[in-house]
């Protein structure tokens, strides 16, 4: 089956280039006959995942994108520090972002919530000290 995959590096604390991986994914998707709604869902989830690595991760991370005829996969991973309690982290408004990041307009505690709202399927694996992997799936048909 036809499939296309790309991986993008995400640099921790690099706010200037943050969003570039999601923008590249968005560009690829736009050349296809997909609804604006699907493209928007994927891009927003990619961006939130990317931003979490930039803000919260202790290491650089990776955004992996895979497109098949049936599904779009996005995976964002980093190697620490991990999320202590995923359910709490998912709650609207929960954030451990520093004041510095809040001043920059981040840290509303909406990222993971937005991802849950927009991804058709979501799996988060996180181990304290080892890192976080967020797996998202989307249906190209809507």
């Amino acid at each position: 089956m036809a499939s296309l995959s790309r991986t993008f590096r995400i640099q921790k604390r690099d706010f200037t280039n943050a969003g570039n991986a999601s923008i590249s994914v968005k560009k690829l998707l736009k050349s296809l006959n997909l609804s604006a709604c699907v493209i928007r869902k994927v891009s927003i989830c990619g961006y939130e995942g990317e931003m979490n690595v930039v803000m919260h991760a202790a290491t650089d991370g990776i955004l992996a994108f895979e497109l098949t005829e049936k599904k779009i996969f996005l995976t964002v991973s980093d190697e620490g520090p991990g999320i202590e309690d995923i359910e709490t982290a998912m709650q609207k408004g929960y954030s451990t972002a520093s004041d510095e990041f809040r001043e920059m307009g981040f840290g509303a505690g909406m990222g993971l919530h937005n991802i849950r709202e927009n991804a058709d399927s979501l799996h988060i694996d996180s181990t304290l000290g080892a890192g976080t992997v967020i797996r998202m799936e989307f249906n190209p048909g809507g």
């Binding site: 296309l4 790309r6 969003g19 923008i23 296809l32 928007r40 891009s43």
Partner: protein, 428 residues
């Protein structure tokens, strides 16, 4: 002139002087240009009329769709619509001298559009504050940005300012008034626009304007600059000539706020809203549209985009350096008496009750602002990606495409052969 590319498009290439250097192809934001047989050609379904190729061509062989700028002199009732950027081209003249100069050139009526721009600004402010639209609201003033949104960011249609664009009412209102005053039919008027950019000069666009009762044509500022400059110098040297209003409502010389519209930031500053952005230049515009799509600016109420750097003063048909023009804008605007600004009553006249919201659907917008490339199937995109992986990635453009990715796409779309790549052909 040799054979020119005659397919509808906003610009023309004079093949005689084209050396096939590829500068235009590399500059094109929609990848609409290829070099074939050593000459530049345009893929017309993708041209958005931004004018980057005109700017970068070292041979000067790319021009806006041609038009004889003196043609208005043969018309019986030539009416000219002037964008405020014109004043920036004459730093020492008063706006009224510029308008008088245009009349001396032979335009029967000269209408300054900034009057409507201010009304529009007023309506936009109220629209954002009272109608809770999707934020950020995006400016609809730059036609290149509109086409860019249609072409690359259709997901942002819902963010476009829904107050009807002023150009849409201004011509209708003013033309009706003039026709009545002259006792002629609308079709007896010849409407001209004086423009800083090629974006309104395309064949595509004029086809669309055919439905209106009058023919309308665009003139580039640089096309009439020398003649106008002469008249203005004469006017400034003689102190007996003064601006005489012919008693026609829309003849006001501009207010200080209107003058600022020609530089990026002028539109948003006048809105007097809390959080706004003003972004200019094609590359930055595209980057910030991308970011807007990611919801990064949802706390901002308005974003002004201008495809030309610094705004309309950076248009490729301006006669004056953009930074010199920008400084002139501040000078002229500062000189204008603020007490002469329009009152709220005047500003409200067209927009107050009715708002005239622009209720166009996404489909209608796409039809007007146009072109979208045929979407690829997932299979084709996968094939492009696989082919791209085999290309050298030097983006050398020897194949005629602006970069390796565009080449891979051309091959899969059957616009060219794989052997056009000198590296593939050479067996590397």
């Amino acid at each position: 002139m040799a054979d020119t590319n005659t397919i509808p498009c906003y610009v023309l290439v004079n093949s005689d002087n084209c050396t096939g250097c590829g500068a235009c192809a590399k500059s094109c934001p929609t990848r609409a240009i290829r070099i074939k047989n050593g000459k530049s050609i345009h893929l017309t379904d993708s041209c958005i009329g931004c004018g980057e190729c005109i700017r970068v061509c070292p041979q000067g062989c790319i021009t806006p769709a041609p038009f004889d700028p003196g043609a208005f002199k043969k018309e019986k009732h030539p009416v000219l619509f002037v964008a405020p950027v014109l004043y920036s081209q004459f730093p020492d003249a008063r706006p009224r001298d510029v308008l008088t100069g245009l009349r001396r050139m032979g335009f029967q009526y000269v209408v300054d559009m900034s009057y409507f721009f201010e009304m529009f600004q007023w309506a936009t402010r109220r629209f954002i504050r009272e109608k809770a639209p999707e934020l950020p609201v995006l400016s609809t003033m730059c036609p290149v940005v509109m086409r860019l949104v249609a072409f690359k960011y259709p997901g942002l249609f819902g963010h476009l300012n829904q107050v009807l664009r002023p150009v849409s009412i201004i011509v209708k209102e003013a033309a009706a008034l003039i026709a009545r005053k002259e006792g002629v039919r609308l079709s007896d008027l010849s409407i001209f626009y004086l423009n800083p950019c090629p974006t309104k000069m395309g064949i595509k666009e004029s086809a669309r304007l055919k439905q209106s009762p009058y023919i309308s044509r665009s003139i580039g500022i640089n096309q009439i600059y020398p003649e106008l400059k002469k008249h203005i110098t004469d006017i400034m040297e003689s102190d007996t000539v003064d601006y005489v209003e012919t008693g026609f409502e829309f003849e006001h010389p501009p207010c200080s706020e209107g003058i600022l519209w020609s530089i990026c930031g002028g539109e948003s500053a006048g809105l007097k809203l809390d959080k706004t952005l003003a972004v200019s230049g094609l590359e930055e515009t595209m980057l910030y549209l991308e970011k807007t799509e990611l919801d990064i600016f949802k706390d901002f109420s308005f974003i002004e985009f201008r495809a030309c750097r610094e705004g309309c003063v950076g248009g490729s048909l301006c006669a004056m350096d953009k930074y010199v023009a920008k400084s002139a804008v501040h000078k002229i605007s500062g000189r204008i008496n603020r007490s002469k600004n329009f009152s709220k009553e005047i500003k409200n006249r067209f927009y107050e009750q009715k708002w005239i919201p622009d209720k166009k659907t996404t489909e209608q917008m796409e039809k007007i602002f146009g072109g979208k490339k045929k979407p690829l199937s997932i299979r084709s995109l996968t094939r492009i990606d696989a082919l791209y992986g085999k290309l050298p990635g030097y983006n050398c453009s020897a194949c005629g495409a602006p970069d390796c990715y565009a080449f891979a796409e051309d091959v899969i779309r059957r616009r060219c052969k794989l052997a056009d790549c000198i590296f593939i052909k050479g067996g590397n």
